[in-house]
């Protein structure tokens, strides 16, 4: 029956004639929507009934003590870890739990890992060129030529990341901070809608932190950014909205001031962190 029905359906005869689906539907506001997500490893609940919503164009900071589930949360969003229950949606159209890692990456979720990995023998420009969205099969790559828009895109990202003057230098000679920016730049070349950034300022100098803060706040609006960070000073300098994770679920959410004055937060996290700082 269903076969006959599908054959008699005249509005969609051929798949290739169907209109291309617009990648991400954010008409309802949120770009990332997590509801009641739970993951346990050998009985230990790394994520426990976590619900989190990130709006399109928002810059969100996630803080929390070690073991609060920050990295596991990133793993779930990028498809590396499957939750035991709950829902994760990208926009209102894409159920991330039904997709694998490459599909999620192609959809526009970029992730920056803690340790920067760039191609040291290649120049900054070439690093960005390789990361650019393109036909990445062998022969198209062999005959690939940089066209005007691609060049402009690379220049734009070089400008954004403050690496314009380093464009011809090998990535291997960059400072630690510059490598981090280059890696963020490489993610930006893929025009992600949502950028997940894991501890971007670990090991950075004060000036480098300031530059990183400028970079990340500059990105917000154009794309949504989720930053996981330990450094409270840094979080204060960039965050409009902060989410505090504790034992796998959201403990508090709000502006930095609200969160800082929340007695539960002070108890589990900020208090001791302030003393340490």
């Amino acid at each position: 029956m269903s076969l006959i029905k599908s054959l008699s359906q005249r509005d969609r005869v051929f798949d290739f004639m169907a209109p291309a689906e617009s990648p991400v539907d954010v008409r309802h506001g949120p770009i990332l929507y997590m509801e009641d997500v739970t993951v346990s490893f050998d009985g230990f609940k790394a994520i426990n009934d976590l619900s989190l919503t990130v709006d399109d164009g928002e810059l969100r900071c996630i803080i929390g003590p070690n073991g609060a589930g920050k990295t596991t949360m990133m793993d779930i969003i990028t498809g590396k870890t499957r939750p035991d229950q709950g829902q994760v949606w990208f926009g209102t159209r894409h159920n991330l739990l039904t997709m694998n890692e490459p599909e999620i990456a192609t959809l526009g979720i970029g992730r920056k890992f803690q340790k920067p990995t760039v191609f040291e023998a290649l120049s900054v420009f070439e690093n960005l060129e390789l990361a650019m969205t393109a036909d990445k099969r062998v022969l198209p790559t062999l005959f690939a030529r940089l066209d005007g828009p691609a060049r402009e895109r690379i220049d734009e990202v070089l400008e954004m990341t403050g690496l314009a003057e380093q464009r011809r230098r090998p990535a291997g000679v960059l400072s630690h901070g510059q490598k981090q920016w280059l890696e963020i730049g490489m993610l930006l070349m893929q025009r992600p809608r949502l950028l997940l950034v894991d501890e971007p300022v670990a090991g950075m100098t004060e000036q480098e932190m300031e530059r990183t803060a400028e970079l990340l706040t500059g990105l917000a609006g154009k794309q949504s950014v989720v930053v996981v960070e330990h450094d409270m000073g840094f979080v204060r300098s960039i965050a409009r909205k902060v989410t505090v994770l504790h034992q796998g679920s959201v403990l508090a959410e709000g502006s930095m001031d609200e969160v800082q004055n929340d007695p539960r937060v002070i108890e589990v996290y900020l208090g001791e962190s302030e003393e340490a700082a």
Binding site: P102, A105, T106, T117, V118, F119, E120, A121, L122, F125, E126, E129, L130, A131, K136, R137, V138, T141, L142, F143, A144, R168, M186, Q190
Partner: protein, 372 residues
């Protein structure tokens, strides 16, 4: 166009200029300067230079995979020898009924082994075009199968080096066997003509020398075009951070396979040009030691430069000719000493000495490329 891109690079222009000048000079000194004059280059020496040039092409092929892709192949002698055997089979068929036994079709060694007819895999080699295609196809096919299995299983580093050694060793043992139909221990020899020209005449030797020079130039330009393309940058990225390259969306094993096959074909071409110049191909070309020696040439000349591989191959083989003439026993010590000295004092090889200048030139070229 893609293949003409390298001609815009100063280093390629310089390389091709030097090669062309050397080829012209040798030709003139051979043809114009009368024999007996101290500057005269005799046919033997022309032949020797031709041999060096085919080694140089082989070294370029190895540098392509080792220098840019990070795959240390210790089995490239196998591809070289396969190309050589394909050419040798053609040359054997060219002998026709002029062999010792005078059989119109069978090569001498088959008559000697009492074979009745030509094995199927010898069919077609009487036609030059077929043989010349097989020169590229046979090593290419071996590299395709071997590379597909190795790269798909993500075998890299020292393990890959070891299995490439095993590959060439296995082929050596196989080709030693008479039943294989490739002349066993003695290999293929007693060649007479190539494309109707007598192989022993001076003119043919000069022609082969020049053909090898042209093949080296073409091989060099092809490699440069690959290395200078986006694919070349993906290769370098793979060499330095394979997982990361995979992560940004490149199917690394396919890139490795493509470059490996191209390299094997170039090595086969080098072998095909080598065989008519030395007049013999036998299983010793498959020996693991030879494949290691090629890597030494590249290391001495300077890895990941291509022209360094050419310099290294010519330098080491010239030294080998001199040493084995003067003090045959001392050659291996000299080779070892050269390798140690270069590793200690010139870690980037002979090409490293020139690198500073070329680097500036390359940056200029890039500047032109980026701001058209």
């Amino acid at each position: 166009m893609w293949l003409t891109q390298p001609f815009n690079e100063r280093s390629t222009q310089l390389f091709l200029g030097v090669l062309l000048a050397a080829m012209t000079l040798v030709t003139l000194l051979h043809l114009v300067v009368p024999a007996g004059h101290p500057l005269h280059v005799n046919a033997y020496t022309v032949n020797l230079f031709g041999k060096y040039l085919s080694y140089a092409l082989l070294a370029v092929a190895v540098d392509l995979v080792w220098g840019y892709l990070g795959i240390l192949s210790l089995g490239h002698g196998a591809f070289f020898a396969l190309g050589g055997y394909a050419m040798g089979m053609y040359l054997m068929r060219q002998i026709g009924d002029r062999g010792v036994y005078g059989h119109p079709e069978l090569p001498d060694f088959m008559v000697f082994l009492n074979w009745e007819s030509l094995p199927w895999y010898w069919q077609g080699f009487d036609m030059a075009w077929f043989a010349f295609i097989m020169v590229l196809l046979a090593p290419g096919a071996l590299a395709l199968v071997f590379g597909f299995l190795a790269f798909r299983s993500r075998v890299t580093g020292v393990y890959l080096s070891i299995i490439t050694q095993a590959l060439t060793f296995a082929l050596m043992l196989a080709f030693f066997r008479n039943e294989m139909g490739f002349g066993g221990n003695n290999g293929l020899t007693d060649f007479r003509d190539i494309l109707g020209y007598n192989l022993r005449s001076d003119a043919t030797r000069l022609g082969l020398f020049l053909a090898t020079g042209v093949a080296l130039a073409v091989g060099y330009v092809v490699c440069r075009a690959i290395v200078g393309s986006k694919l070349g940058r993906v290769c370098v990225a793979t060499r330095d951070a394979e997982a990361r390259t995979r992560f940004i969306g490149y199917r690394v094993e396919r890139f490795q396979l493509f470059v490996f096959v191209v390299s094997a074909m170039l090595a086969g071409l080098a072998g095909a040009l080598y065989v008519p110049q030395v007049g013999i191909i036998n299983p010793s070309e498959f020996s693991p030691i030879f494949s290691i020696e090629i890597v030494l040439w590249v290391a001495l000349g300077g890895r990941a430069t291509l022209y360094g591989a050419v310099i290294g191959a010519i330098l080491v083989n010239y030294a080998k000719t001199v040493f084995t003439g003067v003090m045959p026993d001392a050659w291996l010590f000299a080779l070892g000493a050269m390798f140690v000295l270069v590793t200690v004092f010139l870690p980037k090889g002979v090409a490293g000495l020139l690198a500073y200048r070329f680097k500036r030139r390359r940056n200029d070229a890039d500047a032109q490329e980026v701001t058209p």
